[in-house]
Amino acid sequence: MHRSSEVKHVASYLNTRGCECFGQPCESHCPVLTDRTIHVQLKTFIKIRVKPDRTGVVTDGVKHSMNPFCEIAVEEAIKLKEKKLVKEVVAVSCGPQQVQETIRTALAMGADRGIHVEVSGKDYETLGPLQVSKIFAALAKKEQADLIILGKQAIDDDCNQTGQMTAALLDWPQGTFASEMTLEADKLKVVREVDGGLETIKIKLPAVVTADLRLNTPRYATLPNIMKAKKKKIANVKPADLGVDVCSRLEVLKVDEPPQRQAGVKVETVDDLVGKLKEAGRV
């Protein structure tokens, strides 16, 4: 087994912005949201509703959990640690008190310690990839991380920007949409899933990698591991301590629900169908 003495840290950064309404019928289809607010028992059917003032989505009472792509990222980091290629896995998340739950899940999966960057209230509502990547860049320098792994995008905002921005701020190489990654001495071989197929690149450490769906199968945090994880430390940091300004340069103008499905029209013959299509200007 090849040992790398260079890689000291693998910082696995978590995004808590994921909603687990998988498989539950959501009347207005929404691959979105969550983040912040009270941790409530997941109801069988969760309807995501747009807030009355249309500035966002109702997040009160919606269960928040780790972004699925970030789960894959954490799993990859822990795999590296199990292969003894890295010394320590640090799980980081930005947000209010509730994100500690997500960090605990990462610790239960096998991370060594956690860092909770406290962002709450108005700041949290406007927290976006730019601010998060600034925080990560500052933390990476502070912790002297050699590798940052995160999910390719958050399923609530679908930005797909944090990884790339972090790499740019640190001036590190990046391996995004990774479906496979191998550590070879001080270089990282990454197989990326791109539109045309697969691209294999070799990048030097320190680097940023974003995890795609097929990178691995994340393990489940079993109860005994959750218990053990309670002993692991989670450090508390504020963005100001890292010298980061979390002020947002974006303003959400409007959030709308997807259009309601129109009722279908039944036709008797093919001629009728063609007639109707012509009427609608589609033919």
């Binding site: 687990e20 998988f22 498989g23 539950q24 691959p31 028992q41 997941l42 069988t44 699925p68 792509f69 399923i155 769906l213 199968t217 994340p218 489940y220 079993t222 109860l223 005994p224």
Partner: protein, 81 residues
């Protein structure tokens, strides 16, 4: 000794059952019924057997949840042919 193991198995299944698609209540009730049914089993061999069956169910549930998540993500983010 085996009492503790049984208890741990039950709690683990309880936690896992919370995300069951048919609802946390459904899985909790089924779990309670299953454990109550075998309450009077004292033979250590049989107990071991039942515990290993519980572990099997744990693995099945984990696989179920993983597949559900994977399929949801695949459907949402990747083009299906």
């Amino acid at each position: 000794m085996s009492e503790i193991e049984v208890l741990l198995a039950e709690v683990e299944l309880l936690f896992l059952g919370r995300e069951y698609p048919k609802g946390a209540d459904y899985s909790r009730d089924r779990l309670r019924a299953a454990f109550a049914k075998n309450k009077d089993v004292h033979d250590p061999e049989k107990i071991k057997e039942l515990i290993s069956r519980g572990e099997f169910v744990v693995k099945e549930l984990e696989a179920l949840y993983y597949l559900r998540k994977y399929r949801a993500l695949k459907k949402r983010y990747y083009e299906t042919e």
